[in-house]
Each structure stands twice: as C-alpha cells, then as structure tokens.
C-alpha cells in the first residue's frame, strides 16, 4: 500500500525510517514518529472499528487522548492488550492491531443490522429489554451482548512485562508541556525549585507544535525545543514525556503513569514496561490545555467527521491529510487555522461558519488566500456510510432555529470546531469547585482547594501572550515561596494572530421530516434523542442522566461529550448550564493498565516471604511448604510416594508413640520488661498473673473489649521484671499493637516496655513420650527430669556452647518442650536435635500433623478463635478470674454471652468412623428438614485422629454443653455430603491431661 494521504514534506516524522505494521491482517507502512492513527490515515484507512452500541462504522475523531473511537486490540512481542487508542499508540516495527466491537469483521458487522432496521437501542435499553425473564440474563442476553459489543480481549496469559512503582517528592509538579507548562516550569526551575514537568505525548510543546506563532523570534516549536533542552540540563528538573498525570488525590499526591516501553517493539532488558509515579508535590501547576468541542449535527459520527484541531495536527505533526476535499464547520476562528493549513498544502477547503459577519486577523488571512467561506452556514447531516461522501448543508437564520434549503456539497472529511473546553479533570479531582465561564461556555477551576493552580487554556485563557505572562508569573511566585530565591526572566516578544469571539452555537436543528441521529457522546453512542428520552422519563440530576444514558462514561470521561450534553439538558430543562452542573470527574483521566497499578507486587512479590533459619534443612528433607500468614512453613515432610494425608498421619503418630520435632519459629514473641510488667499481664489476660514465680510459664487468654477472644499463648517469667510472651503466628502484630495501645494511651503510668522478638529467636518444639530422652542428650549438664523441669517450667541451658532457653509447654498434648536459641544458631540447634533424637526415632513434623495433634486434644487455635467466640465457647471459662477486672470482662455479662444454651466447643465423630468431615460444614438435627434447615453449629477443624484411627472434628455447637452423646447430621452442600455424626467431648485424647505432666 502507498501512503496516498502523506504530504510530500512537513511534519516531525523521520521519513528516512520506514516502519511496517499490520492492521486487521493487512500490511502497511508508516514512518518513525507516527502514531498508529497517523500511519493509517496516511494509508487512507479511515474505518477503524464499530461503535459500542449500534455498531456504526467508526473512524478517527481526534489525534490524542481525547479520541473516543479509535480503540484497538494491540499485539506486541507475543502479548496482546485491549483498549489501546490508535491516536496515542506510537508506531513501532512489527506492530499489529485489530479492530474491536466488530463481529465478524469491521466491513460486515452483524450488530449493525440494528442500525439498518432502525431498532435503535434507546436510553436505558439494557435496563428495559434485557431484564426479563431474569434467568435469561447469564445464558442468553449477556453472552450475546458481550459477543456483539466486545470491548477488546484481555489476555489470560501471565504478563511477562515488568511494571514499577516510584515515590517522588518535588516543589512544583507541572502537568503538560504546552506554552503554560513550559513557561511556568522554566521560571520555577530558574528559581532553584525541584521541578517535575510531565508530558503525556512523546513530543513536548503541546499546541506550540501546531500553531503559527512566534516567541522571541523563534517559531513556537523552536522555542519549546530550546526551553526543554535547557530544562533537561538543569539538575533540579525532571522532564518526562509519555507520562500522564492521571489522578489528583489527597494532600497533594498525584499519580502519573510513565509509558517507558510501549512505543518499542520489545521492552529492553532490565527495563520496565511502565512505571507508576506517586508524586507528593508542594505546588501543582495544571497546564493540561483544552480539548476542541464538537458541534452536534446529523450523522456526526460518520468516519471522516473529526475535530478540526486534529486535522491540523495530522498535517503539521505527521505530514498527513485527513482528506483531500475538506469541509471545515466552525463557530469560531480555530476552524480557519485548519483551513489555512489545508490551503498551504495545496488543498482547497470550504469553510462553513455559523457566524454572520465575523472579522479578525485570521479570517482576513483566509480570505486573502481565496478560501471559500460560507457565513451563517451549518452542516445539517453528513452523508456516506463507511466514510463521508458529502454533506447536506444549509443557511441558518440569525436566531439559529430556521434552516434554509438543503444543498449537498461533496467532501471527504468534515473538520468540526465548536470552540474549546478547558481540561479541568485534575483540578476537579483535587476538590476544586469549578465555576462556569460564560465567555467560553465552559467550566473552569474556581477557588483552589489544595495547592493547585491552573494555567493557560486549562484555565480558559486562550491567547498565547496572556498564557505565557500568567504562567511565567505563577511559576516564579510559587517557587520563590519555597526556595526564597528569585531569578527574573525577561518576557519574550510574542507574535500571534488575533481572533474574534465565537458563536455560542452547538447543535444544528433537524430539518423537517428528517430524523438523523445526532451524537453527543461518540464513545458510548449517546444521541440527542437518548437524553430527551431520559429527561422525559423523569431523570433530572445530571448524575442520573449520565448513568441512565451512559453519557460521558468509560474512557471518554466527558472529554468531548460533556459540555454538549450539559447544553442539551439545560436547554430542555430551561436552566442555565451552571445550574445543571457537571458530573464528577474521577481518576484516572485516561485509562491506566492494571499492570502499572499492581507494579512489582505480583506472584512471590505480592507479599513478603518469611523463612525460619531452619528453612534450608526443611527443603533438603523434602518438606512441602504452606503459607502461614507471611511465613513459609513445612506442611509435611514427604517420604517416597506419600501424600499429605499419609505423611501427616505418620508424623502425628510418631509424636504420640516416639518423639517429633516441629519448627515453631513463627510463633509471635514479645519481650516485656519493667517493674509493672506483671500488672500489665494481669490486666490484659483473663487469668491471674501477679503471683507467677520466676522460671515458670503460664497459659493466658486475651480478650478484646467486646469480650471476643483475641489471642492465646504462654508467657514465661524470665526474671523479676522480665517476661517472654508468645502469641499465635497470625495475631503476633495485632497483639503487639494492642499492648502498645494500652500502655501508651490508657495506662501511661505503667512502667513497662514491650518489643517484638519474633525474628530474634528460632524455636523447635520437641514432643512425644521420648522427648525427655532427647533433651537429656542435648543438655547433659542440666537437670531436665520431671522434678528439675516440671510442666510449665522454664530453664536456661547450654546447647553445645550455644545459649538455649527451654520452656516445658505443650501444644500436642504430649510431654513436650520448646527450645529457643538466637536465630543465627537455629540451624545448628535443629541439626543437633535430629542427631540426638535419631536413636529414639525422632521425625520432623509439619503444620498438618501439628493440627491433627491439637485437634484431637481439643486445643483451640485460629479456626476456633476466629473473632466470633468468647472464652466460654472455647471451654476457656475456667481461665476467667473472678477476683480482678481485665480487658473485655465487662462485656462477658451481656445477655447473649451469658445465655444458658450458648454455643460451645464439642467433638464430632462420624457414625461410620470412616467418612471425613469437611471443615465449614453445618450441623443440623434433621437432614431432610425443609430449607433453610436450621443450623445448630459448624465444623471448625477436622483431622484423622491418629489415636483412635478415625475421623474427628471440632465444632462450635449451640448448647454444646448439653449435646454430648447426641446424634446429628453434618451437611456440606458445597461437597454434596450428608454425614450422620455423634457429638463427643472436644478432648478426644487424654482428657485428664496426664501426658503433659508425665
């Protein structure tokens, strides 16, 4: 294909570097510096997709972020990405793109039958038509709508690209590198402020790239280039292109997405694809410019109808003609600039100006160039289906209500200018209450809410000289405040052509007998008639109208649709536009990839991984690991072909018969010191702590103020004023915060310090009837006999030259010890234990066996202490002191907590002693009762009892106290299981607790 719409010369593209690409399977080429849009237009391709709702043909409407139509599916380096704007995607070698919203193809589209049959989907169509019958939605309506509409396809593959996050601080952040951005950045930088200048596009300069102006005897572009190169040299300035500041959040934090590699065929090694910047700025200067506004007329969505500023940008930046027989339809002078550019490139445009007798320098120039200008003329309707072929035009009366006779003018594009709308998204997001500016028919920022100021066109200032003056000054003033340094810049001489006032005309009336679709929102197919229906049906608030009709939704965010929609509502409602107000602008201003938002927090990086000092030993010995909070713990140690069930049974059995060792490093540990340490424990634990002797441990339960159990664990008195507290792995951080809360805020008079020592100690639980034998070998010099180290005793001992702490505590219900050494010695300790235990048949055991052992013992853990149970529910009421007050005690006297038939922990055994019981199942009295079957309780934890060799579960059961011996049913609708069971004591093994004391 030849680039038949490429101009001989001009533009800022590199004509020496041809780039080949594919669109909808066809090969094309463009030049380095093209966007996908400019390259396609150069090749005469204007049909790019189908519209979202009606599947009408779609072309290009803009040349940048404002593009509502040209959204494609992109293929790059074996990956695919949906929702890419062709006007933003820079061309790279080998680029492939496909149309979306068309099925089966862009040229023949089934959905478009809707359009031809004139069964247009009116406002609220989805709500009205696809609602009934309800059962049709998932199976029939939704798949059909999805297939026919389509919004591109997200890849289901893992994204191999890397995305990064960066936190940055600056004095002044400037969003946009047009004239206002450059001028303010320059003066702020000269004053020594730390400046970040962000430009969304690849080229700096904004409108200076396309306007015929002179600044200090340079063209606009030359001036922009010289400022940028000077800024780049300054150490206090960061200049970023391809970087969109898309959100303004609280306390002057803005978020910017930098597209580092999207314009390259492949991301370079060690480079991220995109980087998300969290920028905290002292001052923010919003220089986001303005977006040209469309004029509403019949079939104004036909490919070839586009913004006049876009047509000019394609010529000036890319050397591309959007058409060879252009019609310019304008209500202001901007259309003339586009027409003049056409004329300079040897093309004869026709200008239709809605104004009667406008006069200005620009208009004079157009007249001098012999451009055909028709005053008081409007486009009534575009003609042509897949591309504009002609336009029905007519004279319009002075009151803009009567149309003259229709004439048809042949043309291949209609360049529309309905004046300019300031881009106030960021200002509005900052909390700034915008105000309506009558002169420009648009909203501009009002009083600043955060430290933001809006400059230039974004603030409704449309002349270059005024923009530059204001921007130099604001940049200077704001930075001076921060740096206490002023470097005055002499204001350059500015040459620009003067323009005259625009016509407040935005919608062409329908000619008699015609019912053309006149679109307001091009992306969401919202037409004038849709808004009319919505208002007729009683929708009043603009926020409701938006949701009912989808006006200004999706990626458009009202960029091109907002004001004309408001104009229409205000006209029908007979209100002024500011009384209608505008909908909320929400971040992101422009779509941001999910990858950029997630950053590096994917896969193993999604949370930190903590490993115990013995981790490598576990790995060497075939441990299968499980996530326990942020910790990685051995779940079981695989031998041969064993599965989880077999291995955990073997490990648990070995603890009951011989001896096992378990890595318990992950347990939370808190060091508590100070003369009031005992008093603190006495207040936060439910039982008594004031008389615990040195060298003794005690089990304790901690409540929240509402009486719910927060955590349990043992605390040991190491010396007079020194305690060592253990918490569950999961609650370690919360317990520390809890203690700090009371010490700092409630009882500051207590002289106690708490600090986490979880990582400082490596822990091994040695459990089983032969554990004392192992201990004797490990600590030959210490008296570890039942008298020397009784149950709940503590001693310090020497482990082959390493200081060790021995706590005689048990989670398994067996005779057991926990040995702690400093983390660095953890591996050494573990190896010594395995070595010493060999002759006694020691085996390491993982969390699965650990659970089995505690479940059949009836020891509660996280699945019972789940934030819903009180001590009674867990049979811990014996630990509630009657003599003292403690945190949460008062709540326990609440009626429900003291009820006679209060839920309580019980054991559950299947009648057949075979069927294992799924955790989370419900307990019911009658398995055949009509639904919803009254629930009596739930299974909190299940295991295979190694002591009894049958399944055993713990359950929290209503009136559990009186239910022992009852026969109930366990129901698991999820697993489709109904199991007859018997309720037994939760202490299924050694109910008297003799083993731990043996």
């Amino acid at each position: 294909m030849t680039q038949s719409f490429r101009l001989e010369s001009g533009g800022f593209i590199n004509r020496d570097k041809k780039i080949s690409f594919k669109f909808n399977g066809k090969n094309y080429y463009g030049y380095e510096g093209d966007t996908l849009a400019s390259a396609l237009i150069a090749n005469g391709v204007h049909l790019i997709g189908r519209s979202f709702k009606y599947h009408r043909p779609r072309g290009f409407f803009g040349a940048g972020v404002d593009e509502p139509y040209a959204i494609v599916q992109l293929y790059r380096n074996g990956e695919t990405e949906p929702n890419i704007k062709a006007t933003e995607q820079e061309l790279f070698e080998g680029l492939e793109a496909k149309s979306v919203n068309c099925w089966p193809s862009v040229n023949f589209d089934v959905g478009a039958i809707n359009n031809f049959l004139k069964i247009f989907l009116p406002a609220g169509f989805y709500y009205k038509t696809f609602m009934w019958p309800k059962s049709f939605w998932y199976k029939i309506y939704e798949p059909f709508i999805r297939r026919a509409a389509g919004l591109g396809t997200a890849s289901i593959k893992h994204d191999k690209e890397r995305y990064e996050h960066k936190y940055e601080y600056c004095d002044v952040l400037i969003t946009g590198s047009g004239p206002s951005g450059l001028a303010s950045a320059y003066s702020a930088a000269k004053n020594g402020a730390k400046v970040i200048l962000a430009e969304d596009k690849s080229r700096f300069g904004g409108t200076l790239l396309t306007s015929e102006v002179n600044i200090g005897n340079q063209s606009g572009k030359e001036w922009a280039d010289s400022i940028i190169s000077e800024l780049k040299e300054m150490p206090n300035v960061t200049v970023k292109n391809r970087s969109q500041v898309f959100g303004y959040y609280d306390h002057n934090m803005l978020v910017m997405s930098e597209r580092i590699s999207d314009h390259l065929p492949k991301t370079k090694k060690f480079h991220p694809k995109q980087r998300l910047w969290y920028i905290r700025a002292k001052e923010v200067l919003i220089s986001s410019g303005s977006i040209e506004r469309p004029i509403v007329f019949g079939n104004n969505d036909t490919p070839g109808v586009m913004l006049s500023s876009a047509a000019k940008e394609y010529m000036k930046v890319y050397g591309v003609l959007v058409g060879k027989k252009p019609l310019v339809f304008t209500n202001n002078d901007s259309g003339y600039e586009t027409a003049i550019e056409f004329k300079k490139n040897g093309i004869d445009p026709i200008i239709l100006d809605t104004r009667k007798e406008p006069q200005s320098e620009i208009i004079e120039e157009a007249k001098n160039m012999n451009i055909n200008i028709k005053n008081s003329y409007v486009v009534v309707a575009a003609q042509g289906y897949k591309k504009v072929k002609s336009a029905d035009v007519a004279k319009i009366s002075d009151n803009k209500e009567e149309l003259g006779s229709i004439e048809n003018i042949a043309c291949d594009c209609i360049c529309v200018s309905g004046f300019w709308t300031p881009t106030i998204h960021l200002a509005s997001q900052s909390g700034n209450k915008t105000k309506f500016n009558e002169d420009i028919d648009a909203f501009v920022p009002g009083i600043s809410k955060q430290n933001e100021k809006t400059l230039g066109a974004a603030n409704g200032i449309y002349t270059l000289e005024e923009t530059l003056k204001d921007s130099f000054e604001k940049g200077n003033l704001l930075s001076k405040k921060i740096t206490n340094n002023e470097n005055k810049i002499s204001f350059p001489n500015v040459v620009e052509k003067k323009s005259t006032v625009h016509d407040k005309f935005w919608c062409v009336p329908l000619p008699k007998g015609k019912n053309y679709k006149r679109f307001l929102d091009f992306q969401n197919d919202v037409a004038v008639s849709d808004i009319e229906i919505a208002l007729k049906e009683g929708y009043r608030s603009i926020e409701h109208v938006k949701r009912y009709t989808t006006l200004g939704m999706a990626t458009d965010q009202g960029k091109t649709s907002n004001l004309n929609g408001l104009q229409l509502v205000s006209k029908i409602e007979n209100k002024v536009v500011p009384a209608v107000g505008h909908t909320t602008f929400r971040p992101p201003y422009s779509p941001v990839s999910i990858g950029a938002i997630v950053g590096r927090e994917v896969g193993k990086h999604s949370k930190p991984t903590r490993k115990s000092p013995m981790h490598s030993w576990h790995k060497k010995n075939n441990a299968v690991f499980v996530d326990a909070g942020v910790w990685l713990r051995p779940r079981y140690y695989k031998r041969g072909e064993e599965n989880l069930f077999e291995a955990s049974k073997r490990e648990a059995r070995n603890v009951r018969t011989n001896v096992g060792v378990c890595d318990v490093t992950t347990l939370g540990k808190i060091d508590i010191k100070g003369p009031d340490a005992a008093e603190l424990l006495n207040r936060v634990y439910t039982n008594a702590w004031l008389k615990l002797p040195v060298g003794k441990a005690r089990y304790g339960v901690m409540l929240r103020e509402d009486g719910i159990v927060m955590d349990d664990g043992t605390t040991t008195r190491i010396s007079e004023n020194h305690y060592h507290m253990t918490t569950t792995t999961a609650q370690a951080a919360n317990v520390l915060s809890h203690l700090e809360y009371y010490l700092q805020l409630v009882w500051p008079e207590l002289n106690v310090n708490v600090v986490s020592t979880t990582e400082q100690w490596a822990g091994a639980a040695i459990a089983g009837p032969k554990s004392r034998e192992v201990l004797k070998k490990l600590f030959p010099k210490s008296d570890v006999s039942n008298e020397g180290l009784p149950f709940m005793g503590y001693m310090e001992a020497d482990l082959f030259g390493v200081k060790a702490k021995i706590y005689r505590i048990s989670f398994s219900g067996e005779l057991a010890y926990e040995v702690n050494v400093e983390s660095d010695n953890g591996y050494f300790m573990w190896e010594k234990i395995i070595e010493a235990g060999e002759e006694f048949g020691i085996q390491p055991y993982g969390t699965e066996a650990l659970s089995t052992l505690r479940i059949e013992m009836g020891h509660v853990a996280g699945s019972e202490l789940d934030g819903r149970t009180i001590p009674y529910d867990n049979s811990l009421e014996g630990l509630l002191s009657k003599k003292k007050d403690f945190i949460g005690k008062r709540s326990l006297s609440r009626k429900a907590f003291a009820a006679e038939d209060r839920q309580k922990i019980v054991g559950v055994v299947p009648l057949d002693k075979k069927t294992s019981i799924p955790e989370g199942s419900h307990l019911v009295k009658d398995s055949n009762a009509p639904l919803p079957n009254p629930k009596l309780g739930y299974i909190s934890a299940s295991c295979w009892s190694v002591e009894h060799d049958n399944p055993f579960s713990l359950a929290i059961l209503k009136d559990g106290k009186n239910m022992i011996g009852e026969k109930l049913f366990v129901m698991s609708p999820l697993k489709n299981k109904v199991i007859p069971v018997e309720i037994v004591s939760s202490h299924y093994v050694d109910p008297k607790g003799e083993r731990v004391r043996s």
Binding site: D250, E705, E740, V746, P748, R890
Partner: protein, 89 residues
C-alpha cells in the same frame, strides 16, 4: 494518600500508619461499676461525624507510637497532631 505529621518523626505517608478510631473515647477505669448503657457506648457506639474529628493513629511502620490526629472527615484536611500523652484542647 494522606500526609500525616507524626509528632515524633515528622511528616510521613499514610501507608506507614494504621487507624485507631475516635480519640475522645475514654476507657472506663478497670474495676469500677458501669451501667450496661455506658459500657455499650464505650464499646460500640460511635458518632459518624462529618467535619473535624479527633482520632487515633499508630505510626506502625515508624516509631510505633499511638498519636492523636485532628482530621476533617469530609475533606481529609489535617489540622493538628498530638502525642499520646498530650491532651486534646
């Protein structure tokens, strides 16, 4: 993301802190009789204010101190921060 001035460490980002609720609630003294109503008010009942609100935050990833922060719940403006032992004025 808010910017919170820790009275011990200076201005830090919100993600270093955790929220701790209404700072004006006083825990009833341990061991003292209290009516059901007063106890419920302490444990459960909170005003959902629009506007200036004294609240607790803990500088979790910093000095670990609990601090008092006066914040506007509607605008997120922070007016004042105090140490745990400083009285709200």
């Amino acid at each position: 993301m808010l910017h919170i001035k820790c009275p011990h460490c200076g201005i830090r980002s919100q993600n270093e802190f955790s929220y701790g609720g209404d700072a004006t609630v006083k825990r009833p003294e341990l061991g003292k009789e209290i009516s059901d109503q007063d106890w419920d008010n302490f444990v459960y009942n909170r005003k959902s204010l629009r506007g200036k609100h004294w609240e607790l935050w803990q500088h979790l990833s910093g000095c670990r101190q609990w601090i008092k922060v006066q914040r506007d719940t509607a605008t997120h403006e922070i007016f004042k921060t105090l140490k745990a032992n400083e009285e709200i004025s």
